[in-house]
Symmetry: C2
């Protein structure tokens, strides 16, 4: 059987190692495994979300309200946008997929920074599109404009704050790029970690409303990080109604589960959980910054719920990650991104204690 040609260039995506795998492979008891690899919320699940899930557990046989009326109403209130400006995805990942499928083909290209969210490339490859990257992982106006002028990409991705590096692009710089991009190209502003950046420094705060005046811009957000719903897979895109209408054509019905829908509605109403998540994060990330300074290596100033440690040639990120894994500490090695670096989710005080204990021994 002959498959579509695009499949020849796709490798199957390998997700980060889940706790279950470390338990199976290294025989470490689950309670001794510390996972700081997937930027999951260390506080856990919001108690109000937990209550909602329990209250809805007996309704697993019922399909969700596919209009997602209530969830859109919550997001509409939060961001001051209309229901028809919103599309819900199984994670903002799925909105990225809708975007790729609606706009890309083998004659088109996409533009992104040197190191950014892996799914932009994967979804573009699935459509056979060409991928261009700027020289820096930061989103620099000049680099983006040079590449944009040369390649006229159909989609320009701005991940701010950026994953897996943690840096952010100011609202001013994002708007400057948007203004310079032609209306034939879509600019995706991926704010998956925006809650952390906005709380740290208002010049990095971007809301969907800041961008709704542009017909060729979409803002992406997620419940996976600050809202603590990583396992539930709920994200969203916000843009002008005409763009949302086109993306809807690529949306499968019932694309999030009944419990995910109920959990997201509940999470959207619990801003105090987000505040608590950010407070813990801001307190604990200082330990990671101090540790790097004390041990003589550098890090990228973080606007997210993780920090990226940069190593020089004396240290090898893959060796360090492997040694940590055998001790039950899971972090994300960035070697596959071409960096001698590792990304660590900022955990709870206790998780971070465990990390520093093992990490100190590994690099000693």
């Amino acid at each position: 059987m002959k498959f579509n040609k695009v499949l020849e260039n796709i490798k199957t995506y390998e997700a980060g190692k889940p706790i279950e795998l470390v338990v199976r492979e290294f025989g470490i008891a689950p309670e001794n495994v510390v996972k700081l690899a997937s930027n999951e919320n260390p506080i856990g699940t919001s108690p109000s979300v937990e209550k909602t899930i329990i209250a809805n557990a007996a309704k697993a046989h019922l399909y969700p309200d596919d209009s997602m009326f209530e969830l859109k109403a919550e997001l509409g209130k939060k961001y001051q946008v209309n229901e028809n400006n919103i599309i819900i995805g199984a994670g903002s990942d799925q909105v990225l997929e809708f975007i790729s499928r609606a706009l890309l083909n083998e004659n088109e290209s996409v533009l992104m920074s040197a190191v950014t969210f892996a799914m932009y490339e994967i979804y573009a490859k699935q459509m056979g599109a060409k991928i261009y990257r700027t020289a820096s992982f930061e989103h620099k106006y000049n680099e983006f404009m040079e590449a944009y002028t040369m390649h006229k990409p159909k989609i320009v991705y701005i991940c701010t704050p950026n994953n897996p590096t943690g840096d952010a692009t100011s609202k001013e710089e994002v708007l400057r790029i948007i203004e310079a991009v032609g209306k034939e190209s879509l600019v995706v502003v991926d704010g998956a970690y925006m809650e952390y950046a906005a709380a740290k420094d208002t010049q990095y705060a971007i809301t969907p409303n800041d961008l709704l005046g542009y017909e060729n811009v979409i803002y992406l957000g997620t419940f996976s990080k600050a809202y603590g719903l990583g396992g539930m897979r709920v994200g969203y895109g916000i843009a002008q109604a005409e763009l949302i209408r086109e993306l809807y054509k690529m949306r499968p019905p019932f694309n999030i589960s009944s419990l995910s829908l109920a959990a997201a509605i509940s999470a959207a109403r619990d801003e105090s959980f987000v505040e608590a998540s950010i407070a813990l994060h801001q307190e604990q990330i200082k330990r990671y910054e101090d540790f790097a300074k004390e041990n003589g290596f550098s890090y990228i100033e973080s606007y997210t719920n993780f920090i990226t440690y940069l190593f020089d040639e004396k240290m090898n990120s893959t060796n360090i990650a492997d040694a940590l894994l055998k001790r039950g500490v899971i972090i994300r090695d960035l070697a596959s991104y071409g960096m001698n670096a590792m990304r660590i989710t900022i955990g709870t005080e206790k998780q971070n204690d465990v990390f520093f204990k093992h990490f100190s021994e590994v690099i000693a």
Copy 2:
């Protein structure tokens, strides 16, 4: 902004009306709404699944094990297949999507029966493929072979038992079609309702193992119907490892939620729930058959958890469906499938009582 050409021919999918909508639109109290429109399991959620969901409610922040090791092990045991023969989707719908994206393009076509599962057409249209249908809603060897020879479709869909009609195709007939289709085409055997057919008459029972000898055949199954997980969105495809490997290239990571994964593992272990579902169904469907006979209209012999009533020109399915809806009874009008017919999920004894009361009055 120019969107891909295929979008021009796609209408946004409209799902069946959820209970919430009927409550909103007609002001009927939720407890008085009877939904027999989406073939949800009327028994509800298995108590063991409910327990699993409650036990996992506090883990909503954690990404699932993306290898889906445990769920594949359960399915492997159930069907006597290997882990690498299995791909999990957000409903078997999503496996249909992977198949379309891996195989279809604007130069290809698909073949299906005259009236069958709506998503085959929708996913094919998203890829720009041509759609051919046989003359009958039943899967007839001669009709399929005639169309196959003429159009050489890339995918042949066999939905057995068939949705939304309820009829089934015997294993003998399915194998006859498979044997006649060339290896350059994929045959999809969609067994979403197979548990009901297999329990009714063994000549309609098809298991993935019956088909695993064919490199160009995939079997689809779901947890949405007999297993009672409609709202959780978990289905699967089973085929030779090489085909599964290609489909995996189109699978987004974490394509089902943590709770959906946990619920499906639990459901797979609870065959007694499936048996109870089928027992209730077999008892209650007789009432629908008797009602039709007593009231002088016909129905399609059903091998699924629903029944399709066929009306002559004296009765109009759309008018009947509208009248029922205003009374809080939701069923599926098949006018959009070109049939003067309606599909009714077989409910609990009490739900069916309510249906017959209102339906008797509406057609009086």
